[in-house]
């Protein structure tokens, strides 16, 4: 990131937030909308998390304890959908809303009213989705991937609600992404060239592109599902010349870039936090940009590595294996650059930095298990086992979720004007970082030993590791209540934060007071 000297901006204090509920319902302010996104995401995180607690409670010991297998399937499905579309994605959009205009010196987002619409679609979409749990026949029970024919021929009636809620989430995401791209491309301060943008802005630019490219593909996939279910088309039915595997191809053409949608903003956050607490500039800024672009480009060419056991031609499997492994190169560049940034830096370990270091280590582990999964003959063994569950939770929880938590701790003093309690947040960090390994690490062993995913009951030999994982899960779940408490406490008060919250921080967001004025930059700031 470029170094930006701190200048005191002259702000116009006349505009302040209107009072009452209308402030939130009708707002066109990027900070308010960012706040809404972040609260919504936290709510969904806790809801999806409580479903995970249910799953871990059921798996605490062999045999059926609490749930019918059918309801267990609904829990895993809803957990996945809520965490992906309700927790991780809105959290990143919330961070983008709050920070992008401030980081690039813009007055607000490019299209403020559409920004509000993007957010307010979400609570309705999730009302639709979550209401399926209370419907006759139950909620969708086919996993978040909604493979045909589980979702077409055998899906419960509520599947149609699921389809429309996905459509709504897609509309919301696409509009949010269009807004973000327009903001970044058009509203930067005059002297902020593309290669001077903070990396978080860069990663969001690429992420927004991915969102606009693949959310419509998902919309197409679920539309075909809707047609197959209700209008007698045969996209995913071989009796009419279609193919259930075709659903998987279309879905994963969306699904793989989606994975990067959930991690690229986290990469951006790391690239802000690590230099700040290393008191150095980010090592290899241009290579970070190129690596992000390469990852996004490659993400379109590797989708079928999720489908090695569907009976693809061997030449296809080899291609998708090699292309997948290629992604390790730009990702390796990123990891190298972060480590090189820390190398001989003047390090300090405030909570955001702790999360960042945990991210580095555990995300790399998740990346390596990903490489293992990319190997076709090995994947025949791992496919649909707990090894896959371990892999994607290692990249999503210490990757995406830790990224979000690091960002929240990093920018919370900026948003609220108060420092959070460093003591409590360290308790939160250590409990989370340890429990997450207790939770997910044994799953590798379970998977390698052959325990399948998405089952409520298992063979006796898996009992020990499952019990360990469940204990880790309960600790991790409980620790998040500390997170909630810290956030509320920080909003209500605490040590006053100056404009420059972290002494090593660089960037336009630190030139504004903490909290920033309701409208950030009335005149564009200077970026050398």
């Amino acid at each position: 990131m470029s170094t930006i000297p701190i200048e005191v901006q002259d702000h116009n204090p006349h505009h302040s937030a209107p009072p009452g509920i209308k402030r939130w319902l009708l707002t066109t302010n990027h900070k308010d909308i960012g706040t809404l996104y972040l609260w919504f995401s936290l709510l969904m995180f806790l809801l999806g998390g409580s479903m995970a607690m249910g799953i871990r409670a059921e798996l605490f010991k062999p045999g059926l304890q609490f749930f019918e297998p059918h309801f267990f399937n609904q829990l895993t499905t809803m957990h996945g959908l809520i965490m992906i579309f309700g927790a991780v994605m809105p959290a990143f959009v919330g961070l983008a809303n709050w920070m992008l205009p401030i980081m690039i010196g813009a007055p607000d987002m490019a299209l403020p009213r559409m920004n509000n619409w993007s957010f307010w679609i979400l609570p309705f979409a999730f009302t639709l989705l979550i209401s399926t749990l209370f419907m006759k026949g139950g909620a969708p029970d086919f996993g978040w991937t909604a493979y045909a024919p589980l979702s077409t021929t055998y899906g419960p009636k509520s599947t149609d609600f699921f389809i429309f809620s996905i459509h709504l989430m897609g509309i919301s995401s696409i509009m949010g992404a269009i807004n973000i791209i327009a903001t970044i491309l058009n509203l930067r301060a005059p002297s902020m060239t593309l290669m001077k943008m903070p990396i978080f802005v860069w990663t969001w630019l690429i992420t927004a592109f991915l969102l606009i490219a693949v959310m419509p593909i998902l919309a197409g996939a679920v539309t075909m599902m809707l047609m197959d279910r209700n209008f007698g088309t045969s996209f995913f039915n071989a009796a009419g010349g279609g193919d259930p595997v075709m659903y998987q191809h279309i879905f994963w053409f969306f699904g793989h870039p989606e994975v990067y949608i959930m991690i690229l903003p986290s990469f951006g956050i790391m690239s802000e936090i690590i230099p700040t607490f290393s008191r150095k500039r980010l090592f290899g800024y241009p290579s970070m940009v190129y690596a992000t672009c390469s990852i996004a480009f490659l993400s379109f060419l590797v989708w079928a590595h999720h489908m090695f056991t569907t009976g693809m031609p061997v030449i296809g499997e080899i291609y998708f294996m090699l292309a997948t492994m290629l992604i390790a190169v730009p990702t390796g560049v990123k990891i190298f650059n972060w480590v090189a940034t820390m190398f001989r830096g003047s390090l300090s370990f405030e909570t955001p930095m702790l999360f960042a270091v945990a991210f580095l280590i555990m995300f790399t582990m998740g990346g390596f298990s990903g490489l293992m999964l990319a190997i076709v003959p090995a994947d025949f063994q791992y496919h649909d086992t707990y090894f896959v569950v371990a892999h994607f939770h290692y990249v999503l929880v210490p990757g995406a979720i830790f990224g979000i938590m690091a960002a929240v701790y990093y920018w919370l003093p900026k948003w609220t004007g108060h420092y959070y309690s460093e003591h409590l947040s360290k308790v939160h960090f250590w409990l989370s970082a340890i429990s997450i390994n207790v939770l997910f690490f044994p799953m590798h062993f379970l998977g390698l030993a052959g325990m399948p995913r998405r089952i409520p009951d298992y063979a006796l030999e898996f009992a020990d590791f499952n019990r360990i994982a469940s204990i880790g899960g309960f600790v991790f779940g409980a620790s998040q209540l500390i997170f909630l408490y810290i956030i509320i406490k920080t909003i209500r008060g605490g040590e006053k934060a100056p404009a420059l919250v972290w002494e090593g921080a660089n960037g336009l967001e630190w030139t504004l007071s903490s909290p920033p004025p309701y409208h950030s930059f009335s005149t564009p700031p200077l970026v050398p």
Binding site: N116, W117, L187, P190, I212, D243, H249
Partner: protein
């Protein structure tokens, strides 16, 4: 640049987004209720659609009023341009999903069901009498999916429709030139001709659908050929309808004296959308009808 920044128009609070969100919600509930044949399904769906229509009317209305007041800077104009470009890109990707399905069915799933390459056993185990052809007239399991009696030919109505859409692409460009030269009567004339061509296209398309359903046995449920045919041409037709509505709004605004030779982004956005619809049709014509 700095001056432009100072004038970037950040709108005040607005009711339309939340109205739109509620509208979409009611539409979705109504849509499912229609599919599930629940009471009030259509009423709910129509109520949601009405709310959305109202929202669009009000929202676009306030944007037009703000624009006519001169509140919009050049920079805001660029935001709109980026917004429209990326919106059209998302639409392109939506069609890509269905073209992908067509490609997969035609070159992979149907030949595989016919026993291509290593899929010999798939063929013998599932439907050994099935023969892979395209257009697929006899489905693998004809008892479940009755195939069409004949395929759609490219060189009848579809070719005429191609010509009509290509002409409409030219007439909308003529309208744009007229607008830039401040030749208002020509602007209105060419716009009206474009809308007329769009209406002819849609009517011919409706006739073709009627013909397909009544005499060719080509239906949504007549196997993968019918499914891909109707989904691709149907979504294209829906987009032509949206584009036509846009053009009608533009014509109405032209009659109200809106747009200047320098500033007329709404016109350009509608024209871009029209060209997008046109381009998609060319691909539909080549891949769905012709080849």
């Amino acid at each position: 640049m700095i001056k432009e920044h100072q004038h970037y128009y950040v709108p005040a609070q607005s009711y339309w987004p939340i109205v739109g969100a509620v509208g979409l919600f009611i539409m979705a509930i109504g849509g499912v209720n229609v599919l599930h044949q629940q009471a009030y399904g259509w009423y709910t769906f129509l109520a949601g659609s009405l709310i959305i229509a109202l929202m669009m009317f009000g929202w676009f209305g306030s944007v037009i009023v703000e624009s006519q007041k001169g509140l919009y800077s050049e920079q805001l104009d660029r935001s709109f341009r980026w917004g429209m470009v990326w919106f059209i890109f998302s639409e392109v990707m939506f069609f890509a999903a269905f073209f992908g399905a067509l490609f997969f069915a035609r070159y992979l799933s149907v030949p595989w069901l016919g026993g291509l390459g290593a899929k010999v056993s798939t063929h013998t185990v599932l439907w050994e009498h099935f023969q892979a052809t395209w257009p697929l007239l006899i489905n693998p399991d004809p008892s479940k999916f009755i195939g069409p009696t004949q395929a759609m030919h490219a060189w009848g109505i579809p070719a005429i429709n191609t010509l009509i859409l290509l002409c409409s692409g030219a007439t909308i460009t003529a309208a744009h030139h007229a607008l830039k030269n401040n030749h208002r009567p020509a602007l209105k004339r060419w716009l009206a001709i474009t809308i007329f061509l769009a209406a002819v296209f849609l009517s011919l398309q409706a006739y073709e659908y009627h013909h397909a359903y009544t005499t060719m046995g080509l239906k949504l449920n007549s196997g993968i050929y019918g499914a891909t045919f109707f989904m691709l041409t149907g979504f294209h037709g829906a987009h032509v309808t949206i584009g036509t509505l846009m053009l009608m709004v533009i014509l109405f605004r032209a009659f109200s004296g809106h747009f200047t030779p320098e500033k007329h982004f709404a016109f350009e956005a509608a024209a871009w959308y029209w060209h997008f619809v046109d381009a998609i049709w060319l691909i539909v014509f080549v891949l769905v009808y012709w080849l």
